[in-house]
Every structure is written in structure tokens, then in C-alpha cells.
Symmetry: none
Subunit: 169 residues, 4 copies
Amino acid sequence: MVVEATHLRADAQRNLERILEAARAVFAEEGLEASVADVAERAGVGTATIFRRFPTKDDLVAAMLEQELESVVARAQAAAEANDPTAAIAEFFSGVVETFIEDRCFCEASGGDLINAVGLAGLRLEHTAPGAWRRYVEIVLAGLAPHGGRKLAHKPPTPQQLHDSKRSR
Amino acid sequence: MVVEATHLRADAQRNLERILEAARAVFAEEGLEASVADVAERAGVGTATIFRRFPTKDDLVAAMLEQELESVVARAQAAAEANDPTAAIAEFFSGVVETFIEDRCFCEASGGDLINAVGLAGLRLEHTAPGAWRRYVEIVLAGLAPHGGRKLAHKPPTPQQLHDSKRSR
Amino acid sequence: MVVEATHLRADAQRNLERILEAARAVFAEEGLEASVADVAERAGVGTATIFRRFPTKDDLVAAMLEQELESVVARAQAAAEANDPTAAIAEFFSGVVETFIEDRCFCEASGGDLINAVGLAGLRLEHTAPGAWRRYVEIVLAGLAPHGGRKLAHKPPTPQQLHDSKRSR
Amino acid sequence: MVVEATHLRADAQRNLERILEAARAVFAEEGLEASVADVAERAGVGTATIFRRFPTKDDLVAAMLEQELESVVARAQAAAEANDPTAAIAEFFSGVVETFIEDRCFCEASGGDLINAVGLAGLRLEHTAPGAWRRYVEIVLAGLAPHGGRKLAHKPPTPQQLHDSKRSR
DNA sequence: GATGAATGAGAATTCATTCAT
DNA sequence: GATGAATGAATTCTCATTCAT
């Protein structure tokens, strides 16, 4: 568990979980522009309770995203242990994009890799062309697949750079 | 020139250009959330002057984007008339993404295709990994290239759907 | 003619009339909250032209009302010379209220006598109970009619007071 | 008491009362066009405090008017139970107009009946001819009194119509 | 003399964050 | 520890009035 840090009284711990859960729900629905007050109401706590735990709205968002990230990490681990790596990566890629489509805010707040790129574009299209992102996944996967010893001219961003790109907003 | 419409007094025309120029700069830097006041300050005019010309913040944004769009259209036409279509499309793709990187707001306001996707992700990375988008362009181009008669399983969004996806925000 | 003051060039005089006419139309339709710019547009002149003539929006309103008032004065004179004073006053009263109903702004800007009172209330009712003011006219006329030598306990406001009550807004 | 609803913390309740009191005073003096900022200043709170309680300026106005209305209702009930109906109605009529005179905004926001009519006209005169409305009350009461079996030719507006006329602005 | 462009001074409303209870 | 009340700082937008052309 990411959010636990120090020992908390039982009720405090429960509140913390409720806050994170509410944040996920509210931000997923309304995007990052939802107000802290909305989250507080959904969580059934006062706004001050949230600010006691998370000095800043951004801190709340970050904590919530860390939770979402865990599920992605789990997916990634499953993919890493799969027998068919090609299928596994395809499934992983699609799965993450699907999560992005379902949770606008998670997508908006994530770092800028190609999966995220497809998620962002897919999110825009989802309303008028639902599922359009699947084609983009196909294309990107095809582009990533090794074909005839071709080498890409440009290097990928480092993990650190990818991580830091989350803060760009 | 899009914004000229009727004959304007010399000073008014100058102001109009300053406003548009300031809007481009400010929105490019800070994204669409930048305030009209910021644009006004940069342009050296009062906010009311802006609202006289553009009744709504959205109108201002739209006018500015129209200008950006023109340059993309010009690029597209050049590409269409090139001798080597593969090189032309690569150049076009890169050129548009570069424009996106230089103008966050233009990117944010555009429809959700793969070029846009790369732009959005590249924008996030630009600060910590400048130029990282070039690799993404490579990958997507590779994925788009015909290889061995492969067919994509999913259909692309229609032009209308792409267009409407601009409104998703 | 109220508005003529000094000798004006022919075109200036024409503009002046157009402004007053536009003011009447615009304020009658939209109430006193209509903007000076609206009046200018309707008159086909620049706003500055209006402000050259009328240093203040209030001045414009006042001038326009004076014109409306003239027609009321004409009615009053006709009534004064009629044979049947009772019928004449009834007709006058109704006529003025009708003018008020047709021109919200004239009513709103007039002094506070009983005719005006009926006009103000009638105006509010006109939308949902058109013509309701006619009953109020009846009642007030009945109340004004001499019955059995009764004397009213309170004195009427003086003409000066009535006039000054126009400024209460 | 209308405004109490749920249990409020002592200080909040005190502030709420101060806000309502300030609103009454400010709107009574300056009419409905007074700004919320004026009310806030008078109440000694920030504007945001007002908007927390009343999401809209209209809501604030409505709450305040409800309070005023209560006193009118009380008067009406007293009149209904009086022995001498003629005197009672006269007193009621005068009482309501007096309330109107003391509270411009209440008068402006009320429906368009004859009492309201007298209030509106009286308000305009009050500054230059204080108490002039008393004569108008006399006249209207006289007009309403049954004299010699006379019948009014026009019907009164229905309660619904009167109610809806409040919204005429 | 006429024009319309420019603007300062608001107005309503929102929200992250702090503070008294 | 928790609460929700209070608020300062913004934001979009309007308009009477002044000024350069």
C-alpha cells in the first residue's frame, strides 16, 4: 500500500481510503477539474480532512494516481511472465489504453509515452467514434514490431524522463 | 489572412494582430487555461479590447487556431504534390507534430488522430526529454507503412468523427 | 421642439432626430438597461456622436422622455377642451396607461402619480394577464369621482414634487 | 423563521443573519441592482461567504423577500380576523404600502396588484413628497368600496396571474 | 463634426486553501 | 482529529465614457 506512511488511527485510515476511492470516482467522471469539495462530499468527509492528509490538491491527485498505477503494474508483471511475449504485450497495451478510456483523469495525468498518446487521442474520439483507439493500438504495435532488422533512429525517453513528464501539468 | 474581414482602422488592425500574436504565445505556453487577462497583458491592451473583437474567449481561441490551421493546410498541400509520397508523409507528420510541440494549445484543441496523439504525448515529454516525440513519429510511421500485405483489423475514424472529436472538450 | 437648442447643421439635426427615435424604440423594447451602443447601432451613428449631444446616458433618456411627454401633453389638452369632462378624464387616463404599457421605459421613467402607478402594475401583469390594467383604471377613476361630498384626508403632491419624482432613479 | 433550515454552527448562524439583514438594508436602499459586494461589505463578510449560502444573487434576494413576505402574511391574517372589515382592509392596505416604501426592493419584486401599484408610485414620490402615497391609498380604497350597486366592467387578475407577474423581471 | 476603437471600473461566480469550533 | 465556515484571488464578460483618427 502506498498511502499509509505512518500509523493512523483506525478511523483515520478508513477515511483515507474513502477519500482516495472518492477521488478516483469523481476525477474519473469529471476530469481533473472537479473540485476538492466534490471529492469531499463523495467521500462523506469535510474538505479540511482532505487537506490535512494532502496539503495540496495536486498531492491528492498524485496519491490517487499511484493507486491506479498499481493495477497497471500488476498487468505489466502478468505480461512479463506470459509465454507468448507478442500477444502479451498486445494485451497489456490494449488493457492500459482501455483503462485510460475509462478513466480520463488517469490518462490525463499519466506520463507521455506511446500508450498514453493513444489513450489521449482515443479519449477524444471515444464519444463520436467509440473504440477507434483499437486501430491506433494496432498501428503502434505494428510499428514497434521488429521488421527486417530495421533500427529506429531516435532513442526512447528514459524511465526518469517518462516519470517526470507526469508533472508537466 | 483569415482575420481581416472588413477594413479596420490602421491602429485597430495593429491591435488585432497584437492580440492574435499574444494569444498564440500565451496559449502556446500555458495551454487553453491561460486567462484572457494574460493575453491582454501580453498584447499591451485592456481585456475589454479583446472582448470587443472576440465576444467570447472561445472565439479568440478559434480565431487563433484558424491561423495555425492554415499553416498545416499549406504543409499538407505541399506534401500532396511531392514526388516521393513516403518521404512527404513523413515530413508532413513530423512537421505537424513539431507545430503541436511549439503550440500546446493548438495541439490540445485539435482532433484526436495519431498525429495528435504523438503531439500530446510529446508535449508532456518535451520538458524533460526534448525531441522524444521524434521516436514516436518513427514508430507510428513504421506501423502505418505497408508490410507484407498485412491488413489492419480495425477501421479508421471517419473525417467527420475526427472533426467532431475536437469538441470533446 | 424640445431638442434643438442651438442652430445645428442640417445633418447634425437629422442625426439628433434619429438618435432620439432610436432611443425611444430601443428603450421601449428592452427597457432602460439597453446599452447606449444598442441605441447608436439602431440610429446608424457612432456612440461618440450620441455622447457629443448627450453628455450622459441619463441625459439621453431624459431628452427622449421629454418627447414622449409631449404626446401626453397633447392628449391632456384635448381632454381639457372636451365637453364631457368625466368621459374625457377617463379616456385620458386610459390613453396614458396604454402608452405606458406599450413603452415600458417611458413608464419606468415617469413621475409617480396614480396613472403611473397603474401603468407600473399593469406592465408587470401584461404578460400573464393582458389588459388587467383596465380594471385598475376603473377603480382609480371610481375612487377619484366625487361621491357624496366626501373629502380626501391627504393632499396631492405638487406638480414640482411629481416632476422631481422622475429623478428618483 | 424561514432561514434556519438545518442546524448551523453558532457563528455561521450569526453570519447568516447578518447577511440577510445587510441584504435587506442594502436592497431596500438601492433596489435590486445593488451588488452582492455591497451586501457583503455591509455584512462584514467576503462575497464568497454569501455565495456559499446562496448560490446565486437571486437566491439571496428570494430568501430575503421570503422574510418580508412573512410580515405581510401576518398582517393579512390579523386583518382577516378583525371585527370591522372596512377598517381592517384599509389598515392592511396602508400597512403593506408602508412596508413597500421602506423596502424598495420588496416592492419592486412583488406582483403587480393595486397595492403594489401604489407602492411603486409612492416610492418615486417619497423623496420629494413623503407620505404622498397615503392619498393614493385613500383613492384606491374609495374606488374599491361598493357604491350604489356599481359593477366593475373588467375582471381582476387571478391569483396565479398575480403571482406570475412577479417574474416579469 | 463624426466615428468607432480603447478602456477602467465593476459584476457575478468559483475554488483551493486556512481557521475557529 | 475532524469539520465546515470563511475568504482572497481569479475568471469571464459588460458598459458608460473618453480619445485618436
